[in-house]
Symmetry: C2
Subunit: 408 residues, 2 copies
């Protein structure tokens, strides 16, 4: 398996476009994805009960094998009532017509401000334009990846190439957006981070179970601000254009998918609203994986932990206090909290006792580690074999600024 420089149209048979239709003032705001061949797909949606219209539409229509996707940014089409549902349907109808495929093969997603009607005239024109601009290549990838962004600073892409045993080369690629309202907990068939993974591998049946596993170990472990969006969606689409043997049960293929979605999820959290640091927390020694996940999620969601990391402050008490609130089982006499890895690792807490004194060498070393862009922590709960990862970011002045001024 090889990590390559690629995007959603790097796999064979995929085209993409990104246009500006006027929802946003200047930036690209409408993306389209299209496969020349039918696909096997899986969509995972937000578990927020206040589902946006496009999510509601997708679930009702059971769009499971999308051959095309239309995505707008700048407006979430959420909490927009019956009209919102109609607008989502119209986006699908217009896209199907422009591409000459059946409506049941078109998916729709939106992201942006909640509670405002979509400007359907602009979107209708945008769909026409995008359908004509569909093409392959890095520029098309970039334009599509740009058109789905909201407060994101950078586009998120990832791609890997795998050579199967018979020599077939397959490619898995993806794009995502994130930034704010990021605390996804997506469930297949019933996941505002948007992500789209394309591949030219051959599948012969629904990849839903595998896709759920991939999401549970990537997007579902990240958290920017604890607010699960009304619009989260995570889409996987395989069009078989590469030929070769089916990969339904090929572990190397799914490892490739994992690599792509984990890369995208980390990019989302690294570019979280106002984020200056990526926090990678590994919880080990938990009663089971679920408890490890719960503890990890609780800790990286804590405003006090996040601000301490922003301030490069080794205030481990906040981490343990968050653990106490998580409800996960731990044995304080066996709890061990380590900052960093390898030789430079600093143990902050062990066997019931704090390991660094104020103004000590240990504290200085800890502050140094916390000043880096990537903070790695390992928390051993000391009771079992369960483990999980949780990826978060710090809470900065910039986060407050962005969110105090979002609609204005």
């Amino acid at each position: 398996m090889k990590t390559i420089d690629g995007g959603v149209t790097t796999p064979l048979g995929w085209k993409a476009a990104g246009v500006h239709c006027g929802i946003k003032r200047e930036r690209l705001d409408l993306a389209m994805l299209y496969s020349e061949h039918p696909t096997f797909g899986a969509c995972a949606y937000t578990q927020n009960r206040m589902r946006a219209a496009p999510i509601e539409f997708m679930i009702k229509q059971e769009v499971t094998n999308p051959q095309a996707f239309v995505i707008n940014s700048g407006n979430a089409n959420a909490i927009t009532g019956e009209q919102g549902l109609k607008d989502a349907r119209t986006m699908v109808e217009l896209t199907a017509k422009a591409l000459g495929i059946d409506e049941s093969l078109v998916g729709v997603a939106s992201t942006g401000i909640i509670g405002r009607r979509l400007p359907m005239e602009k979107i209708s024109a945008g769909i026409q334009e995008a359908s004509k601009e569909l093409s392959r290549g890095r520029e098309a990838d970039h334009r599509a990846a740009m058109a789905i962004l909201t407060t994101d600073k950078v586009i998120k892409e990832a791609a890997v190439q795998i050579t199967l045993e018979d020599g077939t080369k397959i490619t898995i690629a993806g794009m995502a957006k994130g930034s704010g309202m990021i605390s996804p907990s997506m469930k297949v068939q019933h996941a505002t981070t948007l992500s789209f993974v394309t591949t030219d591998a051959v599948l012969t049946r629904s990849p839903e179970m595998r896709w759920q596993e991939a999401i549970d170990n990537s997007f579902n472990v990240i958290n920017v601000d604890g607010d699960q969006s009304t619009n989260d969606i995570s889409v996987f689409m395989a069009n078989g254009a590469a030929g070769g043997p089916p990969v339904d049960d090929n572990p190397i293929f799914w490892k490739g998918v994992d690599k792509v979605v984990r890369s995208l999820a980390k990019q989302v959290v690294t570019d979280g609203e106002g984020a200056t640091k990526l926090i990678e927390l590994k919880v080990i020694g938990a009663k089971d994986d679920a408890e490890a996940r719960k503890a990890g999620r609780w800790i990286i969601s804590s405003s006090l932990v996040k601000t301490a990391v922003f301030g490069a402050d080794p205030n481990f008490g906040r981490i343990l206090a968050a653990l106490g609130n998580s409800g996960s089982t731990y044995d304080i006499d066996n709890v061990r909290l380590t900052l960093g890895t390898g030789e430079r690792a600093v143990v902050l807490f062990d066997q019931g006792v704090p390991q660094i004194e104020p103004c000590s060498e240990g504290e200085v070393a800890a502050r140094k580690l916390l000043s880096k862009k990537r903070i790695v922590m390992t928390l051993d709960l000391g009771v079992g074999q369960g483990q999980a990862e949780a990826w978060g970011c710090d809470l900065s002045y910039e986060y407050v600024k962005i969110n105090a001024e979002y609609t204005s």
Copy 2:
């Protein structure tokens, strides 16, 4: 019932002191409360499993009727292992000895930084000093109320006076501290906000049930940052010094207690770390009170809601998104969100449809209401008769600043 200017020593038979013993650099850091008479009391503690040593001590010792309390600020004595427990016990022993009362009648509480050992020599000297300075009057009230503060900007006091039917005048008074790590969920017998309510009313049995009710409608509805502390404690103590008939079942008395604790809880959230605004959310029309409470708590805890309020931004979509995440039942076609009360109220959302357009008069009016120091919102879930209040504060640059620099 009459609201009066008073503090913990306004009820008869109560004395207090606040001294500087050197845990903090300059400010008062050790408070003592003492009743000249035995008391009936109730203590509620944090439900965070990572309980601080003083909380652990109190629960183990079952100090239910404290006649005296010793409280230090600047150090939480939390996550300090066996030594921490010994230190908490020593604080109780020293206080009991200095006051000449039994150890079983002395309560202990701590607040401040987590994970550091208490400076016991300083505390020991402080206890001696405080026990000598115990006195009645507004200065003693203020010094005690000051000595329990951490990042709080102002002291929190409240007092009411009630004349019973037989003419007996009783007084209920309290002090509290709050500021950060405020998301209490205290349970009697098993509840960093600290609060102490004193009264000279006569009780004849344990007030625990009533005290739980009082806390559930005051401290347990507030939230500053979603992090429940390791050290929350809420104490009620009645010494009977006023004489007159027992008030165990006197609704007016408990209304007085409610008034004091609700005032204290609001003061805590108003002075929350970095808070510039108080958010008073009333959730009505819920399936039951518990669901109303859950929805309210989820909404006032949302970073996106809090930053929007800080920015005076009527981004109601974030409120509804938080409702969607709460898991509480609602009927979107009957959901109604109102900002403000009376003639100037602005309906933001009603019957499935947003009620204000960008740049409309309604939006301007909403921004105006959101620019005030006190934001009142009513959210009708449209499904039943359940209701609850939730009090929170906005999330400002100052919150980030305070918490990025707390230990340094």
